[in-house]
Symmetry: C2
Subunit: 191 residues, 2 copies
């Protein structure tokens, strides 16, 4: 699989609309280590772009500032590997903006695949999505921050990826861990 | 695999001796999100204990304070799921202390398995280790912080787990992502 194709895969990390512990719709704050960990995992698995989605001006400015430090600032000289990963980071106001941009770049809209610890409708198994990616279909994997994606995002997606099942029924991975595991299951070359 | 046995698996996150960018041996600082992410992944995959290894008094105190907040303090009431994960955290001065404690609790010493982005000697594939765990052999998975485990830790281990290969040759996952992926490869039940 490794050398046969270039995956046409994108990752979007949604900060709005997501839910809090009570189920209210909120805009979550950006977490610095999400940018580092998910950009590094994205680079490792050949993701084309990692979109950080938030409509909040100050949060968008924060993402741009972190990206700038590692791509053009002192961080790029200190750690060129980190630069390569952080170059994948892009900021977007909304998931619609992400989908439209990917659509423009590919000549067709991507399939939207939401991830959730809960089961959803239009479920997709890891192997099926792996095969779909192998056909070259543009896909965007959508992860939620806080307590997860809002119902509006979940129900509007083309597919819901089956939840990661561990060993014990405990089902509370961080979004950083979940993104790493999902990418490894879809594109790891020595599983 | 899910219901047939209880894995006898431990995780150790080493803060000393590890190397910095120049290859010097250092004691790395504890990162709060390492405790959260790796304890949550450990709980998800049935790990028995997650050892945070540092000989530094103030760093050990920090780990104990974070653990206490989530296991007995306000954090436990705010988020009981986080409590379940953080309960797995233990502090140790050295890897020797970890191995001795696991040995006492099991009546035999665990196999020590180091993880490294570089290849090592006495290499073990993921499938072989998965099988070894299934036999009930106690094993401790050893992860390094900073720029990785020191040569002394690498060479003293029983085995070196094969590096995670992604898609592109880029090989710079965070330790949080690497731990999540390794546990999923060893104990994930719907890969």
């Amino acid at each position: 699989m490794k050398t046969s194709f270039t995956p046409n895969l994108y990752v979007a990390l949604i900060h709005y609309p997501v839910v809090n512990k009570e189920g209210d719709i909120i805009a979550a704050a950006v977490t610095n280590l999400d940018l580092h960990d998910i950009s590094r995992a994205s680079k490792t698995y050949g993701v084309k772009r990692f979109y950080v989605v938030t409509p909040l001006k100050d949060q968008k400015a924060l993402v741009c500032r972190i990206r700038h430090h590692w791509v053009q600032g002192a961080g790029a000289r200190y750690n060129p590997n980190r630069r390569e990963a952080m170059e994948l980071v892009a900021v977007a106001d909304s998931l619609k903006e992400v989908v439209d941009e990917i659509g423009r770049n590919n000549g067709r809209h991507p399939k939207t695949v939401v991830t959730s610890a809960r089961s959803g409708t239009r479920k997709l198994g890891f192997i099926t999505l792996r095969e779909m990616i192998a056909t070259g279909t543009p896909c965007v994997l959508i992860f939620g921050t806080a307590w997860g994606l809002s119902e509006s995002v979940l129900s509007a997606a083309d597919y819901t990826l089956e939840p990661i099942r561990g060993y014990c029924g405990y089902n509370h991975l961080s979004v950083r861990s979940a993104a790493a595991i999902v990418l490894d299951r879809l594109l790891g070359s020595n599983q």
